[in-house]
């Protein structure tokens, strides 16, 4: 018996329509399917046009369903054909080349077109939109011939177009009507960070400019703005927005507002005719992003196949920018108003920004910049309308300064099976888990080939990795091995082992013998190797000035204007009126811009000219404070038993003693200490690399604390009774860190990597070991000298480093 299959006509061969057809096929829908597309290609991934423009992908790479797919699934595909009318009476669609095809059901998925500004000159040669492959081709061609481009529109698409053109070598200015980029997705903070980052990557901006005319003869030559200023450009991309493509619906008498009006089952005003994607308008919303397409497609597919489905109730829109090196994410509500409770953190050094908006304690929106690892999680929370809890807070905002360790990786466990992991390709968590369990896949690439997840923007890759890790457990292999920098594949431990085994003496030898890719290394490996060599051979290693970062080479902190900061040593944070007077006199004489008390109880003399540095040090005649070095910075102290009525130990005395003992020695990273006279802990031991707290019967030692980038409360390490024991334990901890720490690794990371117990075992359970470590640091300490004393006695080095030749 043959069943008569219903005829389904899809108008529009794009992601939304074909995504729906894929779902229908999966659900076993019994339809004869015909697809019409105006473009001459099979279905491709529009989201990835940026990559084609960037040159990292070709059209072939972004084809989602090739010709064979249509054939294999018995789908009749007509490319280069535009449907011009749907005739409800005769249930037929009519095309521009005269085809007439009967239907039972029609899906209109005609997408949208670039909105071209209706200003004089917008029809000139050299003006394009950014919507499809032909726009992309036009841009690639223009970049070969022309130099100056303007992109009108500082939204998602405009920025991607601009970066693409910069990569193609064009001089690109983004012209934006508003003062903030991506103002429909980002708040002012994130927007200004984004602009700064893109400027760093070579994109120029003309903000708050309204284009009123495109000038030029036949070809565009420039833009004129409403304030009468102008901008030269021989190529213009319009990326000011999209316009739902509703021509067919209008011609056929289907009701249209901005888009084709649909109900919660994607039904248009015409019986048996549905619409999804960018051309559709649902509850007053037209979506220009990809995730809603899949959500609509799933509802429509189920509806057409007669399966039970919840109605489509709209999408929470989230956005990610696809520019390499620029991570931006937003979901739900993102602009704060008085009704919101705002959780935010901004880090201008790491260039990250995180904001979560709550309404009556419900998570309603989020913005991330720089670090988007929490994006999938936040998107889910916003969608669920989750209530903020302490657990969620810790999970998404990180440890905070209370050092409550956030457990990572649990979020994928809690994720629902139907949840979409890859928003670009509509891949659910279940599809990924199935790929792993049924096919035995173990890599992201295999999952990509099988399910399509990560195939597009790649933003979901971390989540896919987490799922892999979650399903596979221990058998999950980490990605390819990475060396300490791009010059080598060797790790720190391998390099140190080779230095010993082959008795290597200089950074040059290390790099030559161990086959460095860049012969003389880079700014990452050279300082690291110089440190390892010095740590291993404190008496024989010739420190290499040329392998030192500027601050350590000059013995002062460089500031962004090229001036320097001088910090005289004040042992334990204690100074004298005489020294203060001298500091004041020198500061006046050399016109110091600011005198500032540092976080570590010292005085910063900020804004000293490079050529004045030797004279400043000579006249101060004080030891260098090493505020610039990977070395012991400061030992912070409280008043202690000398004066404080609560003090049980002499913290000022012990602090000064420690600082004198360990000053000038190189460490893997900067090193800070604190000594407190009583458990009130006024000098804040909990955020120091080594924190010491006095009590009635002796001292307590804490290690691995940090108040900086990665805040961490120090771990209690041990208690000791005498000053001698205290010094021996501190020496051993410092030397063990010097010998096993990665260059630039703070003790907060080191303690977590090594494990507190391991360090305790090495130092506390083995007296011999402890004494040897202490002896090694004492030996290394005999080799250190004050850099400024040395510099002042070395005329030629001083001249070469600090003096300017003036002609």
């Amino acid at each position: 018996m043959t069943t008569i299959r219903e005829k389904l006509v899809l108008v529009g061969n794009g992601m939304a329509g074909i995504g729906t057809i894929e779902q229908i096929l999966k659900l076993g829908g019994a339809y004869d399917i015909t697809v019409f597309g105006s473009e001459p290609h099979p279905n491709y991934n529009r989201i990835m046009l940026s990559y084609v423009l960037e040159g990292s992908k070709t059209l072939n790479d972004i084809i989602l369903n090739d010709w064979n797919w249509y054939e294999d699934n018995n789908i009749a595909l007509h490319t280069g054909t535009t449907v011009i009318r749907i005739d409800e009476g005769s249930k037929q669609v009519v095309t521009d080349n005269g085809m007439i095809v009967p239907y039972d059901k029609v899906i209109i998925a005609t997408g949208s077109n670039s909105f071209i500004l209706p200003v004089p000159g917008s029809d000139k040669e050299g003006v394009v939109g950014f919507r499809d492959i032909s726009d992309c081709d036009a841009m690639l061609v223009a970049a070969k011939q022309y130099r100056k481009a303007a992109v009108i529109g500082g939204g998602l698409l405009g920025l991607e177009a601009a970066k693409g053109l910069v990569n193609l070598g064009m001089d690109v200015t983004v012209v934006h009507l508003m003062e903030d980029l991506m103002e429909r997705q980002l708040d002012r903070n994130a927007s200004s960070m984004l602009q700064a980052e893109l400027e760093r990557q070579g994109v120029k901006f003309a903000m708050g400019k309204q284009t009123v005319e495109l000038s030029g003869e036949q070809r565009v030559s420039g833009l004129r703005f409403s304030d009468d200023s102008t901008l030269a450009a021989d190529f213009v991309v319009m990326a000011v927005g999209i316009k739902p493509n509703v021509t067919l619906a209008k011609e056929s008498g289907i009701s249209v507002n901005r888009g084709i009006v649909v109900d919660d089952y994607l039904q248009t005003s015409m019986q048996n005719v549905y619409s999804i994607g960018e051309c559709a308008e649902h509850r007053g919303m037209c979506y220009g992003l990809v995730a809603p397409l899949f959500e609509q497609g799933m509802v429509l597919a189920k509806h057409l196949c007669g399966s039970d489905t919840k109605p489509y109730e709209g999408s929470i829109v989230s956005t990610k920018l696809k520019i390499s090196g620029v991570d931006v994410f937003s979901a739900g509500e993102f602009l704060d108003s008085p009704e919101h409770t705002v959780i935010s953190s901004k880090d201008e050094w790491k260039r990250t920004y995180k904001k979560i908006l709550l309404k009556n304690n419900v998570i309603v929106g989020a913005v991330l910049f720089g670090d988007v690892t929490e994006s999938a999680n936040l998107q889910k929370l916003v969608k669920q309308g989750a209530v903020m809890t302490d657990e969620i807070y810790t999970e998404v905002m990180g440890a905070g300064c209370c050092g409550v360790g956030a457990k990572k990786g649990t979020s994928v466990e809690a994720m629902a099976d139907e949840e979409i992991v890859c928003g670009c390709n509509g891949v659910t968590k279940k599809a990924i888990v199935d790929a792993v369990t049924e096919h035995g896949f173990t890599t992201v690439d295999e999952i990509k080939a099988c399910t399509g997840a990560t195939r597009s923007c790649g933003g979901c890759k971390p989540v896919v990795e987490q799922i892999l890790q979650f399903v596979l457990g221990d058998s999950f292999q980490q990605a390819a091995k990475q060396g300490i920098c791009g010059c080598t594949t060797l790790s720190r431990d391998e390099i140190v082992a080779e230095i010993t085994a082959k008795d290597l003496k200089t950074t040059k030898e290390v790099m030559n013998v161990l086959g460095w890719k860049q012969e003389e290394g880079c700014s990452k490996c050279r300082p690291a190797i110089n440190y390892y060599l010095g740590m291993m051979n404190p008496d024989t290693h010739q420190d290499e000035k040329e392998s030192r970062f500027v601050n350590e080479r000059m013995g002062a902190n460089i500031q962004k204007d090229g001036t320097y900061t001088v910090i005289p040593r004040m042992y334990g944070g204690v100074t004298t009126p005489e020294d203060l007077k001298k500091i004041a006199d020198v500061s006046l004489k050399y016109d110091v811009k600011v005198v500032k008390v540092t976080g570590g109880q010292r005085l910063d003399l900020i804004g000293v000219k490079k050529e004045d540095l030797p004279k400043v040090w000579e006249e101060l005649d004080m030891p260098s404070g090493y505020g610039y070095a990977k070395s012991l910075r400061t030992v912070k102290t409280c008043v202690g038993s000398q004066f404080c009525r609560f003090g049980t130990q002499d913290s000022m005395g012990m602090g000064a003693l420690m600082e004198r003992k360990y000053e000038r020695l190189d460490f893997p990273a900067k090193f800070k200490m604190a000594v407190n006279g009583c458990p009130r802990n006024c000098a804040e031991s909990c955020t120091k690399d080594i924190g010491i707290v006095g009590n009635d019967g002796g001292w307590e030692v804490f290690i691995g604390g940090n108040g900086g980038i990665k805040p961490r409360i120090a771990d209690a390490f041990c208690k000791v009774k005498t000053d001698e024991e205290l010094i021996e334990v501190c020496s051993a901890v410092m030397q063990y860190y010097r010998e096993t720490g990665n260059y630039l690794e703070r003790t907060s990371e080191w303690v977590e990597r090594m494990g507190l117990e391991q360090i305790q075992t090495v130092i506390l359970n083995n007296e011999e070991n402890r004494k040897e470590l202490a002896a090694r640091i004492d030996f290394a300490l005999t080799q250190v000298t004050d850099p400024w004393k040395k510099m002042l006695n070395d005329n030629s080095t001083r001249a070469a480093l600090f003096e300017e030749t003036r002609l």
């Binding site: 070579g202 390499s324 860049q518 003389e520 880079c522 050279r526 392998s547 962004k560 480093l801 300017e804």
Partner: protein
């Protein structure tokens, strides 16, 4: 304007792989001697939007890592290497015996 030639010192005035600032006329130069003995003169100003000097960077082969933002710069052409972008003006250097001259 006519090219002017400045004598900026002898080879020994320039430490290997360590930059030195030379002000010639109204141009501030960062002068580098690479390990192969070549000498390069660049305008002492980073093309980074925040500016800053170049002379104190780390020199590797014919590349400079700028001291403030770690941009990698080709000393021969002044070109900033990807992913960053920009260009720094370079000036021709000549060696006659031990004497170093630069043409501005």
């Amino acid at each position: 304007m006519a090219t002017q030639i400045y004598t900026i010192g002898t080879v020994q005035d320039f430490l290997l792989q360590i930059g030195r600032v030379v002000v010639a006329g109204n141009v501030e130069l960062a002068v580098f001697r690479t390990s192969d003995g070549a000498i390069y003169a660049l305008e002492n100003r980073s093309p980074h939007p925040k500016g800053g000097p170049l002379a104190e960077g780390i020199v590797s082969g014919h590349f400079l890592y700028d001291p403030l933002y770690d941009w990698k710069i080709d000393l021969r052409t002044g070109e900033v290497q990807a992913p960053d972008q920009g260009i720094i003006v370079t000036y021709p250097v000549s060696l006659v015996g031990d004497i170093v001259t630069v043409s501005l």
